[in-house]
């Protein structure tokens, strides 16, 4: 369903996106897809060597979930700016809740834009990342 610029308002919540549970094999898959082969994401022994109690998810995988939150709502290809600050580590078996909210509507360079903020949290409410975004929306 297309979201139009005229139909959104500051304060609107984006439809919540639940991702996960994250599996070990998803981390292997994301390593190959992204090219980030840092073994702390895939090899438990290496993760333990650096003081973790097991592998952790790539921060960029979690940011990708945030990207999907935006494109599920505004459409694929709508992202103009997307910035996150990483807060907490994510481990396999965790599920994540992605939430966003519109903070501004504006027009710039002939495009209708929505700005907003987002968070991704674990089901225990632990913050994984927070950020802000700008997406371009179609007009009616």
């Amino acid at each position: 369903m297309t979201v139009y610029f005229e139909d959104i308002n500051v304060g609107d919540q984006l439809p919540e996106l639940i991702k996960g549970p994250i599996s070990d094999s998803q981390l292997v898959r994301y390593s190959g897809a992204s090219g980030d082969f840092n073994p702390i994401h895939t090899v438990p022994k290496v993760a333990q060597m650096v003081g973790l109690d097991g592998v952790i998810a790539h921060g960029m995988l979690i940011m990708a979930f945030g990207g999907q939150l935006l494109t599920d709502w505004a459409g694929a290809g709508s992202m103009r700016q997307f910035k996150v600050r990483f807060s907490g580590m994510t481990k396999p078996t965790e599920s994540l809740i992605c939430r966003g909210q519109v903070t501004e509507k504006l027009e710039q360079n002939g495009e209708a834009l929505a700005r907003g903020k987002l968070t991704i949290k674990g089901t225990d409410d632990s913050l994984k990342l927070k950020g802000d975004f700008t997406v371009a929306l179609p007009r009616r």
Binding site: K19, Q26, R29, Y30, G32, A33, S34, G35, D36, N38, V50, G59, M60, L61, M63, A64, F65, G66, G67, Q68, L70, T71, D72, G75, A76, G77, M79, R80, Q81, F82, K83, V84, R85, F86
Partner: protein
């Protein structure tokens, strides 16, 4: 302490050609089933540029080594992407990374790496900004 004289340093450019197979592999890995990516000339997911850097041979580990920082001692603090023009399958991205800033705060060192991507026509298409936290 990271030597602040590295600020402004520009690293050799690298290239990556956007492939459809790589896009599908990425979508499978993140679990995004949006059918809008399955058309002939699809847009790219918001964080797909991660692929340009890692598979294009940016080599973050080597870049950090050149400014005296070891990969095992860093955290990815922030990441930002800015889309400047549409990207298409078959386009060749040319990425140039530079050290935009180096500063210390709360006992930690921060290194800001900005990578600008141009397409094969020399058009600026994407900015990538990573904030790296150096521990200790």
């Amino acid at each position: 302490m990271v030597d602040p004289s590295h600020k402004g340093r520009v690293f050799p450019s690298y290239e990556f050609t956007i492939e459809r197979g790589k896009l599908h592999e990425f979508l499978l890995a993140i679990g995004d089933e949006n059918p809008a990516y399955l058309v002939d000339d699809p847009p790219l997911p918001p964080t797909f540029a991660t692929v340009f850097a890692f598979w294009g041979g940016m080599n973050m580990e080597n870049l950090l080594k050149q400014i005296g920082v070891e990969m095992w001692n860093v955290l990815h603090g922030e990441q930002e992407y800015e889309t400047l023009a549409p990207l298409h399958i078959g386009d060749t991205m040319s990425g140039t990374a530079r050290i935009a800033d180096i500063y210390a705060k709360a006992g930690m060192n921060f290194v800001e790496i900005v990578t600008q991507y141009q397409n094969q026509n020399g058009v600026a298409v994407l900015n990538d900004r990573a904030l790296i936290i150096v521990r200790g």
